[in-house]
């Protein structure tokens, strides 16, 4: 009985700690200095599966009016829904930077980390950084992209994978290129993956994958392209349930 009482007492507490972190307003530390601008150093636009912590920290920097880093400025960070930033507030280091960890929420889509600091007059300066959470389908698309697409569509080379991008006459579009992909319908993307470049009057250097990839694989690839698109892809019209 005692034990049950203990569990009943502890569980809501644990859960409120576990689930309520986004609401827990941590006290903003006393600022020792004030900046005039906020910039993102690194860690924006990271891609990870839903609910997981991001690989790299999000690093923000406070600058003064001349663009020099400001140490000791108070910065607070907030993120929407059930994503978590740790720590949610802090003072910038000697290099004017603050590094925080971000764990994505349980839903796929964009999570926006809003970083704020105040200048001397108390005016709020805001910086927005988006992070991308992939659900099952988009993540499958990411894996397929790594295997089949990225050698040509990603112009960056790594030690393990040398990019073939520059060897092609028609340069493939990077999947983050929203200005191109957002104007193409799902049907168009599906047909170019299935039937190759000539299907949309484009280069045959894009081969057909319709007999190699399953239909659900192609849908997953499109879902991935939509997820990483920059600017973000907006759903148009009605989409009917598949499940």
């Amino acid at each position: 009985m005692k034990r049950r009482g203990f569990i009943i007492a502890v569980l809501p507490l644990a859960l409120s700690i576990g689930c309520g972190r986004r609401n827990a307003e941590s006290p903003l530390p006393q600022a020792k200095a004030f900046g005039a601008a906020l910039v993102e150093v690194s860690g924006g636009k990271q891609i990870a599966i839903v609910g997981s912590p991001l690989d790299q920290p999000l690093i923000v920097q406070v600058n003064d009016a001349q663009g020099a880093p400001v140490a000791g400025a108070a910065v607070s960070l907030q993120v929407n829904d059930d994503a978590v930033v740790t720590p949610p507030a802090g003072l910038t280091g000697p290099d004017g930077q603050l590094s925080v960890g971000v764990a994505l929420g349980g839903m796929s889509g964009h999570y926006r980390v809003v970083t704020t600091t105040r200048d001397k007059s108390g005016k709020v300066i805001e910086l927005r950084s988006d992070e991308i959470a992939l659900g099952y389908q988009q993540n499958l698309g990411r894996e397929l992209n790594e295997t089949y697409c990225s050698r040509c569509h990603d112009s960056e080379s790594t030690a393990e994978r040398v990019s073939n991008h520059d060897n092609l006459n028609a340069k493939p579009h990077a999947f983050t290129e929203g200005s191109f992909f957002n104007t193409r319908s799902d049907a168009d993307l599906s047909s170019i993956i299935t039937h190759g470049g000539p299907a949309l009057n484009k280069s045959p250097e894009m081969p057909p994958y319709g007999a190699t990839l399953h239909k659900t694989d192609i849908e997953a690839l499109i879902a991935y392209i939509r997820a990483v698109s920059d600017p973000p892809y907006r759903l148009k019209g009605l989409v009917y349930a598949k499940n």
Partner: protein, 687 residues
């Protein structure tokens, strides 16, 4: 007994006569009966259903949405899976993907997954209490061993209950499972998959029965104290041993060690003199043998360069004895017959240079602080006791120590472990995933006396291991066999005869896979005999120039003799034949110049093969696929034809797309490709 006057007057007011008493009791009865409808009216789920109706009221598609909404408690019951779900009572829109933009729970449509929601239900993947009808009970109840809803980053654990194959969509689960094997977790913990297969380690921990011949007691001591200080990529965990424990264990390991060479065996020449003084030539032997395909070395910038199949070699000179190393590079199987390392047929000069080059890779800091006096008998005896206590023999073979069975708790059903059986400590939240993550991250916080060692996992690796463990549920064991997706069965294929012995000696299976056995670094050779021409294979074996210019890991040169190369080529071309076609069925001589010209046009225009392959080194640039300048001397015409028709049928998983090429086009392409016979010598002469 005296009754308070007020109570007495109230009693009289209510029950003075039978008429009043009847009225009073009737009112009480009505109130009692009203409890149920009132409770019913304020049900939590009814609020959510009403909220949904309000949410969709003004949408253009509201009529259809309303029509599809099923009022009341909804239940999915799948007896054979043990699933009872009422989740869709509140999560009314799981199948309405037109609401994807709305985004608030509980009204989010379910994202696309490969299975039907009604076929598997919700709790299979999400856990929680499916039968509950309140938010708190369904999501967060942990009463009497009940499980809370899984956090999103562990969802792949649901897939792992049926899938023992490695689906491409669950990289986290696959990584977790490979970590359990690679880091030797399953050497101590028994872990049976739902199919009843006991998971085997893939870490191949070295036997220690001759350890004294290989290294010094000082090195063993320093390694035991902190394996990652010697090699950051070491898979051996840190047992947090005290100085005395490390001293005693190292004493026993040296004391139990036996010689591995017969007393009269010829000793390999130790590197020295001119060889050791020639680091540049040594480095080029290291490079030419492609040691870096398997072994990594930390470069000046602190980056690891090389593969992870074998141990890191950054400080190898501080570890091994020169005479042992000299013998090892000549033939590693003498020391460790089961090693994954190939028997390179180095010349005496090459072996000397390589030994000298590796000997020079020392780190004076690593052993600087180690001062050990010669061990006492007591220390040796205590060392043996400690080895038994920490279960060292679960991984390593050690003389006079028996391999312990079931050394650590079984993990077969750890994913359904009831919380009541877990002793939580400190700030670890009281959920199963949090417990498992804490245990994997820092086992000793659950007690300083625990034996489980400290691993150096990154947060992503911890999540992966926890996902793999959460897939080990009781439900998975009880699933109907038809739902189970088998992994690759373990194959103990062994090639026969002289060629078979050669292939085992050179460890072809460390990189190549044949008939389901072997590594994944290099191409699968199961049907290689249908693919390649015998003469090319003989030449390749003697001088394996790379086929893929962009590849870092390459086939090493084994210095095979002519006779060995012919034996291997004969065996491979005879035995490794696909049943799909006869490799002699298409004669390259039957192609006409017209075929070849048409093939050339198809190659460059219609199919744009030059995007990925090089035929003309002057103009073509693609380097995703192998270079095809000499494909006419390498492959058989029949293979080229059938491969173009359906690459995945001959090499499962290859990224060359199946382009649905017609027979005529395939024939022309084959004609063009089979005409590509330029040898490097001819190319050089042209220039």
């Amino acid at each position: 007994m005296r009754v308070h006057p007020k109570i007495a007057s109230a009693w009289r007011f209510l029950f003075a006569d039978s008429g009043r008493a009847f009225g009073t009791l009737a009112v009480v009865l009505v109130l009692c009966l009203a409890v149920v409808p009132v409770k019913h009216h304020f049900r939590e789920w009814a609020r959510y259903q009403a909220g949904y109706l309000r949410l969709i009221r003004h949408r253009s598609d509201s009529a259809g949405l309303e029509r599809r909404l099923q009022p009341g408690i909804q239940q999915t019951w799948i007896p054979e899976l043990g699933v009872v779900d009422r989740c869709t009572t509140c999560h009314v829109a799981t199948k309405e993907s037109s609401l994807m933009d709305m985004g608030t729970q509980p009204y989010r449509p379910h994202p696309a997954v490969p299975h039907s929601l009604t076929e598997f239900g919700c709790v299979m993947c999400h856990r929680g209490q499916g039968a509950a009808t309140t938010v708190e009970d369904a999501h967060r109840s942990t009463k009497a061993g009940e499980q809370a809803v899984l956090p999103a980053n562990y969802f792949a654990a649901g897939c792992g209950q049926c899938h023992q194959d490695a689906p491409i969509g669950t990289p986290q689960l696959n990584l977790g499972r490979s970590l359990l094997a690679r880091y030797g977790c399953v050497n101590c913990h028994t872990l049976q998959t739902a199919q009843g297969v006991t998971m085997q380690g893939s870490d191949e921990p070295p036997p220690l029965i001759h350890i004294g011949e290989k290294t010094t007691r000082q090195w063993i001591y320093a390694w035991l104290k902190n394996p990652q200080a010697y090699s950051t990529t070491a898979t051996m965990p840190d047992f947090k041993l005290s100085d005395a424990a490390a001293r005693d264990i190292s004493a026993y390991l040296i004391a139990q060690s036996t010689p591995y060479l017969a007393a009269d065996a010829p000793k390999a020449a130790i590197a020295g003199g001119a060889d050791a003084a020639n680091p540049q030539e040594g480095a080029s032997v290291y490079g030419e043998a492609f040691c870096a395909s398997c072994h990594a070395v930390q470069n000046a910038a602190g980056l690891m360069v090389g593969g992870d199949l074998g141990p890191e070699l950054t400080r190898i000179g501080s570890k091994v004895k020169p005479e042992w190393l000299a013998q090892w590079v000549r033939n590693p199987k003498v020391y460790f017959p089961q090693t994954a390392m190939s028997h390179y047929r180095f010349t005496e000069k090459q072996a000397g240079l390589l030994t000298g080059f590796l000997e020079a890779k020392t780190d004076s800091d690593f052993l600087a602080k180690v001062n050990l006096e010669s061990p006492t008998q007591e220390q040796i005896v205590n060392g043996k006791a400690l080895i038994n206590e920490f279960g060292c023999a679960a991984c390593h073979a050690i003389n006079r120590i028996q391999r312990p069975d079931n050394f650590a708790p079984e993990l077969t059903a750890v994913g359904s472990k009831p919380l009541s059986k877990i002793a939580f400590v400190g700030t670890v939240p009281h959920t199963l995933p949090d417990y498992l993550a804490a245990k994997v991250r820092q086992p000793r916080i659950f007690g300083a006396k625990l034996k489980m060692p400290q691993y150096n996992f990154t947060p992503a690796q911890v999540d992966a291991v926890v996902t793999a463990l959460l897939a080990q549920t009781e439900r998975a064991q009880a699933l109907p066999a038809t739902l189970r997706v088998q992994g690759h069965p373990l194959s103990n294929y062994h090639p026969a005869a002289k060629a078979g012995r050669l292939m085992e000696d050179m460890q072809c299976f460390s990189c190549h896979s044949i008939n389901g056995r072997g590594g994944t670094m290099a191409p699968d050779l199961t049907w290689e005999g249908s693919a390649v021409q015998r003469q090319w294979l003989v030449n390749f074996m003697k001088n394996p120039n790379t086929l893929r210019p962009a590849l870092i890991r390459r086939m090493p040169k084994f210095n095979v003799t002519d006779a060995e190369a012919e034996t291997l080529a004969d065996y491979i071309t005879t035995v490794y034949q696909t049943p799909a076609f006869d490799s002699d069925s298409l004669d390259a001589a039957s192609f006409t110049a017209g075929d070849r010209e048409r093939g050339r046009q198809l190659f460059y225009s219609k199919y744009a093969c030059q995007s990925c392959h090089i035929v003309d080194p002057q103009n073509d640039k693609g380097y995703v696929g192998p270079t095809l300048t000499q494909v006419g001397t390498r492959l058989t015409a029949a293979w080229v034809f059938h491969y173009l028709k359906n690459p995945q049928a001959l090499r499962p998983g290859t990224i060359e797309p199946n382009q649905n090429i017609s027979d005529d086009d395939t024939r022309a392409l084959t004609a063009f490709l089979m005409a590509q016979k330029k040898s490097p010598a001819q190319e050089a002469a042209k220039k």
